[in-house]
Symmetry: D2
Amino acid sequence: MVSEIYKKGETMKGYVLEDINQASWRDDLPKPVAQDDEVVMQPVIVAPCTSDVHILETLAFPTMKGKPLGHEVAGIVHEVGSRVKDFKPGDRVAISAAAIDWERPEAQDGYGKYNMISPYASTDPRLMGCFAEYYLVPQADLNLAHIPDEVTWEQAVALTDMATTAFEGVEWLEIKYGETVVVYGIGAVGLMAVCAAVLKGAGRIIVIGSREVSFEVAKAYGATDFVNYRDGDVIEQVLTLNGGPVHAVVVCGGKGVSAISDAVQMVCLGGRVTNVAGHMADETFTMPNIAWGFGMSDKSIRSVMCRGGRANLERLLALVKYGRFDPSKIVTHVYHGMEHIPRALEQMGGRDRTAIKPAVFLE
Amino acid sequence: MVSEIYKKGETMKGYVLEDINQASWRDDLPKPVAQDDEVVMQPVIVAPCTSDVHILETLAFPTMKGKPLGHEVAGIVHEVGSRVKDFKPGDRVAISAAAIDWERPEAQDGYGKYNMISPYASTDPRLMGCFAEYYLVPQADLNLAHIPDEVTWEQAVALTDMATTAFEGVEWLEIKYGETVVVYGIGAVGLMAVCAAVLKGAGRIIVIGSREVSFEVAKAYGATDFVNYRDGDVIEQVLTLNGGPVHAVVVCGGKGVSAISDAVQMVCLGGRVTNVAGHMADETFTMPNIAWGFGMSDKSIRSVMCRGGRANLERLLALVKYGRFDPSKIVTHVYHGMEHIPRALEQMGGRDRTAIKPAVFLE
Amino acid sequence: MVSEIYKKGETMKGYVLEDINQASWRDDLPKPVAQDDEVVMQPVIVAPCTSDVHILETLAFPTMKGKPLGHEVAGIVHEVGSRVKDFKPGDRVAISAAAIDWERPEAQDGYGKYNMISPYASTDPRLMGCFAEYYLVPQADLNLAHIPDEVTWEQAVALTDMATTAFEGVEWLEIKYGETVVVYGIGAVGLMAVCAAVLKGAGRIIVIGSREVSFEVAKAYGATDFVNYRDGDVIEQVLTLNGGPVHAVVVCGGKGVSAISDAVQMVCLGGRVTNVAGHMADETFTMPNIAWGFGMSDKSIRSVMCRGGRANLERLLALVKYGRFDPSKIVTHVYHGMEHIPRALEQMGGRDRTAIKPAVFLE
Amino acid sequence: MVSEIYKKGETMKGYVLEDINQASWRDDLPKPVAQDDEVVMQPVIVAPCTSDVHILETLAFPTMKGKPLGHEVAGIVHEVGSRVKDFKPGDRVAISAAAIDWERPEAQDGYGKYNMISPYASTDPRLMGCFAEYYLVPQADLNLAHIPDEVTWEQAVALTDMATTAFEGVEWLEIKYGETVVVYGIGAVGLMAVCAAVLKGAGRIIVIGSREVSFEVAKAYGATDFVNYRDGDVIEQVLTLNGGPVHAVVVCGGKGVSAISDAVQMVCLGGRVTNVAGHMADETFTMPNIAWGFGMSDKSIRSVMCRGGRANLERLLALVKYGRFDPSKIVTHVYHGMEHIPRALEQMGGRDRTAIKPAVFLE
């Protein structure tokens, strides 16, 4: 059967998850072939994500074992399947970290994210991560996005997960013009959330973090106030700074799941909290009853996942094209050469306090 | 100063919260006088609420001490202040349990419920509960509602808290036509939530409860499926019955705050949970991380309070007038004579498993 | 090429649009074959639509020439393509009149109706109308809906266009509980709009029509007030009856495009008007400036098309299954035998004032 | 009676509408006195509006006859009524052009704009325009807004009508991140709409105008493409430039009411059009049927009025305070001295093609 879906003898190189805390280079991976509605893209730039680090450290998605890691990628169309209409070899393209199965009816009601066909969510061996020479995209007309000429590779790759996640979380906040918004946690996603909040009409934007490099980018993106974990209780700091509760909080990390109850305690009656941070299996989210007004505060909490789909990603690309924000400010380190992927992954692991997001050009 | 706001010598009778587990009749309460934008109404029918029971048992609102209890009432306008435009003595009127201070700018953005001037939320001694011969309503043109001729007293009083609370909770569910909704807890509020769900286009409606009397009314209101706490784990029961997760849950009581994490475990990705039950100060709401998809499930949780205001209550009264639902089915016991208020309160306390909601005509 | 897509020699019978005001039976139509994601269904019941009449009288969609007419159908799965997952021969199924091309990115943002692949919107000769022995459904997993056992054939066919259109128009009205809604025009779509309004919480529902048979069904569906075109100016009648403007109007026909400016004149500041009636090319919609407050009235007008898709139609089917409404009350005439299609079409043309909607069982 | 509401003998100066095309200075106007919930403010800066010009030229609001003109104003609190809580003499304040009667229940459902108590909408002789030494504000706690120190007088006055109108119109467009928006007409309101669109996440912003000065400010505010009426049919220009229809259009003037049908022809299926321009009584808005898809295009048209209220205006002031946009770029001419009001009015009348918005400091 393999002979039908991989071209005989053609292989590729990739950085493969072998086991917990073990990843290695392999050069005998089957190079994918584009069938039907599929595209095979050639990654030009990839970026490691904290969830790659997490998967590597915990094997959280056992489906990834034996596959290349990676889900943030922009590149060039290499080969198109027979049913692909809108893409051709050579096109510059990007894809949301949440590749979606649009052939399920659930996709008709919302924003198409409830049927992931990403490598980590699928047992299909053909669906591999993007830390490899080639990357297979199913339902390409619906999942790939054209990158406009005006958008750089760094900008494009920064959109694929950091912005698709952050913008989704901020959109659900339903910000009214001039409201006060807190961005809790300002790694790469949080910084994109600052941009997203500015572009939905937030007035004051208070960010919570600890690293100088992040505060600087946050300021450049439009944050107006800065709260440091190290300066004491963040709830108190925010309430004092703002002279009372804020309208909305987007939790983008921070200090684990307790950030959510912190957030609920920061917002006013009727306030909104969205969470876009992945929290780990052994964390239990606890809400002191008084924090949410004994269940009668009109406060809402929403857990939000990265949005998939071409339409959404092409709109985010349009924002960059028309100069509304520059996602590449979060890319603090750029490497040239596939061999730097392990180093970038390690950097993303957090030991380097000057790094927000590394990106790696494969060549 | 008292001489200015109470007519000299005029007193009234009321059932007063004296201390924890102590309430007594007094007949020397100052009868209120309508000033400016106020109306004094004469209660015709009142109903005890579980929160009256709770306040009596715990003194949860110390501001109520020395005041008559009660906040569910419909009656007749007795006296109007000089600035009242739309009401005159003799008018049949009702008021939401959440009387609002519309003179604060917060009321401009939403639905006016974030500045309560109800007796239990206010230190103003003139604002007393409705278990008394007279009841003062501030900002009457904005807080009182006209009762149409077609609506009975029992129907009207059932709307003031049970329906204003339940309909608000269901509205926030943003039900799409034909979705499956769970009503978790079918006391009086839960039963109103069944009506509210039908009237927002729910298809299947699964109710969770244990009392026969409630199941019967739920069925009459349009519930299609019935889950009993006593038959085992409710999450499992719902998932099995429905062949998978439901779209939305409104928590109207149930077994305390843990109902919320149960609800989150019953809904699909993108599912909505609202809570309209008041939960007590010592309860801590805990969310197993897996229940809400590690923070990436697009599930939302909203705590919702009773909506105040004339516009909303007059719309609910219109629903009854035009025969869309009959809230009086929840009124299982009707008493005539003010003296029955303590007995009705006790019944509401829950020891009588045949009672959903008692109501008391003052005469 | 034909040999590839039609089985050699297999033909079917259908009622074909030949030219303006000319339709005829042919029995040499190529019977479709299900490929890939397609299903071929065997119509059990079909219903003529006013737009069939219109297409026949004006050839409004020249793409239909030479094809069987018809787009309201429920039936049985006859044959499935290799990629179809959720349907098998023998299944009872229905399809929205708006079959959608879900493979275009536009479908990702909304409700999937902007890329029709219905017979009248497509030049593909394989896509024919349903007044035939077999009917081809593309992207079947996304366009077909399973009919629950509890739902009758008459109910199912009444949903496919009448309800999918009316419910969409009413959904956009964003009715608040208890608001007053006008249904302007109570043919089959208007009557479904009455149900849709009840199921979104309308209080008073005023219908405008002229035929006794429609008024009766409207009343059974929950309309509360009845305005007859013949009794004078409808705007005046509605304003007098209601004692002022209403909250929302859904235009489902009435007296042509002028119904829209009538509707705008009936609604209050902030009021909503949706139009679900197809208006003809030579009608120009004119809005007296004063009617919409010189452009400063916060009134909105929305033209709305039938929603497509399996998810939506299966939810409407759930409403019927759970007894929320019975769409078959609009089916006033039922015929048995394909040969009655022309007669049903004629009846739909409006000369029979006792007919709302005829339906034809093919056998 | 006058003796009760105006202080004996105290008069003030104002620029009074006498009749069609006649306005004159009077210095014997009764100076208002703040009662109850009222504030008397001392205008520091005022701006003429095209509707002032229109009222002067046509006496469109006969209620204004004999009163000073003007409704765009920022100033200093001069005197407060006994029930005013949040303002004191000396406070810097502004007020939306739409002063609202918050004491009507209609204000509870929406955004409080359906019960205007502005001078032009009211027959109350105490409610006069702001082109005078003093200006009476009813329900001051709900209608006045505090101006933050960081906001200049020019910025504040530019918000009171130009931004409250434009932002409202753009909010109703429900822009998704990255969508393409057309601003049709770029006078002062249109330019504020460019800012509003940027701050709701528009990608490409195409503006339609003809004056160089407006194009320059539009560009500075973030417009990306520029269409000139003089270069031919604007519909064609927009469709060509964009390679197809746009997502949304806000009509802020342009060439009269026909701009609305132009706009409908520019938007895609499902597209949104809002109109914030006041159109005159003798203009009739005509919609070619094909433009809106025969009533089946899912296109919507909304007429939108300036939003009133303290909460909204204080949020817009927060946007300026936090540097999100600078409304003072539209103030092309600043005069010092009340006597310049007639000249500013004339300039607003449109004969000066270098003027967008003049403003006049009273001293």
